[in-house]
Symmetry: C2
Subunit: 312 residues, 2 copies
């Protein structure tokens, strides 16, 4: 594969330093997903038809997510809004996403926008500007990106890692069974995802944070594929892993941390995402206080389980 | 690769029929890209700082694009807004995109949203709902999608092709040099993009329109790689090609139509996109009428060139 070039020295602002410092102090790597599935919104918050085009729906989602963010404050390092669920609400949904990202940051939470963007040239530059520039209306701290269009298309995001302390997570081996279709294709004895990981090794080194030794160039590696995660870790020793698939998709805490390594406060090296199990606990109750208790219990359970896994 | 299943009979509404019928009647396959690069907006339309976060910027882009759509009416079959350039303007940019797509449809233009989305499970479903469902605020007629996460992740889009007459264009071989990094990797003697195209052949057959014989499952194949386009055509005889890279990226009209085949009104089989050369003609003038003339001339030039290429 071709090489990414043109990255010069890393500045002091480094996304990996920011997130890993918080993770160490909290004692767990939980990232909480904000995926407002309309079908799963509890009765307490539902308004009107709950159809995507009904303005009352945006108000319902907004109320749910604001109350939810209040439960997370001080307990997790980072939240991950899933762009699709806001896009389906149209422009009003994006206005909500914009407010939500701002509110999360005001509450001291880092924001990783899960948008899996990928395009070429000036369009890739447009996506980087949209989500990683300091004055961008939809500014996030980090973004997930898709590498299918080639390594050089990642350059605009990596530049923002360097100049503005942002983070990027490149899709490498995703948590779904269908991920094999392209990611596992055999290229001269190695699957595509290992080939890709190897090609990311140089730029990852260039984005290592001075405080923690972790890189602002991260990768997405599903908790459902622990063996593959270990192979990616071999070629990317400094890359943060964003690990989806823990909890609802069947990955255990042990699987999710299998590519973590010993650090000053336990095993570290990534963020483990849980969305539905926390935002939509099984018995959400019918009063605000019952709902708060249900969310707190689901959150504490994930924190305890992941905290134990990394301190083991 | 695994197979996509669960698609039953095609309904009478078929995106390929809709677009190819228009293309035949107009005599050219031009698709006009709506990529409002802020740096390229002509003086006539500029307002304020033109920074992404300045509200005056959205007004300027809106005025430009509305005036531009008026020039296209009745002359082209389809327009292709590039989502990144609206996303960089935040929620106000998405509100503009929403209005613009509606206005284009009211003017009889089909709308292909270039968003290159790709995700798994319920998130893929969210993207399909966001852009292809009948009541979606951001409803388009067709969407570009990224296949890196696997073929089964395309199912929600293909379902909308079948049930709502929508179209989908899967990224196969993109127009940028870096596209080789993953798309050209050799898998048992065939590049990844050919392997992918072959895997799309069954679902493409299932989405063939009764009127024209073309499929609502299309593929993106850059005009800069004519030989590769011919290989993709061999395995996907019915797939519409969305061909970027004509004009500003160096692909000629001949290259762009190299995988077209003889139809009742000349060579056909795809849409050839031009964005910058038409939206931002070289000498845009300093009065509204001069700007209109410059846009009309650029538009007519592309129409003539592509019309000649397909009638040759």
């Amino acid at each position: 594969m071709s090489e990414l070039s043109g990255l010069s020295e890393v500045t002091h602002l480094n996304f990996a330093d920011a997130v890993i410092t918080r993770v160490r102090s909290l004692g767990h790597p939980l990232c909480v997903g904000l995926d407002p599935h309309l079908d799963l919104i509890p009765a307490l918050f539902r308004r009107g038809s709950m159809a995507a085009e009904d303005p009352a729906t945006v108000a319902a989602v907004s109320e749910l997510l604001e109350a939810f963010l209040d439960r997370l404050k001080g307990k997790v390092a980072i939240v991950k809004p899933q762009s699709a669920f806001f896009e389906q609400l149209g422009a009003a949904g994006i206005a909500l996403l914009q407010q939500l990202m701002q509110r999360a940051r005001e509450q001291g939470l880092l924001v990783l926008l899960d948008a899996k963007r990928g395009d070429i040239g000036s369009t890739a530059e447009g996506y980087a500007r949209a989500y990683l520039d300091p004055n961008a209306p939809l500014r996030a701290d980090a973004l997930t990106v898709n590498p299918y269009l080639g390594l050089s298309t990642l350059a605009p995001y990596l530049e923002r890692c360097q100049s503005h302390g942002r983070g990027v997570f490149v899709l490498v081996k995703t948590s779904n069974p269908g991920s094999a279709d392209i990611q596992d294709l055999n290229v001269g004895g190695r699957p595509v995802f290992v080939q890709l990981a190897a090609a990311l090794s140089e730029p990852a080194k260039q984005l290592v944070g001075p405080d923690t030794g972790w890189s602002a160039l991260g990768v997405v590696v599903g908790a459902t594929y622990p063996e593959q995660a270990v192979r990616v870790r071999e070629v990317l020793p400094n890359a943060l892993f964003l690990v989806p698939g823990y909890g609802s998709q069947g990955g255990s805490a042990k699987d999710a941390t299998c590519a973590f390594v010993r650090g000053p406060a336990g095993l570290e090296g990534g963020l483990i995402n849980s969305s539905r199990a926390i935002l939509f606990p099984d018995a959400p109750g019918s009063s605000p206080s019952a709902w708060e208790k249900a969310v707190d219990a689901a959150l504490d359970r994930a924190i305890d389980e992941l905290g134990s896994a990394v301190s083991a």
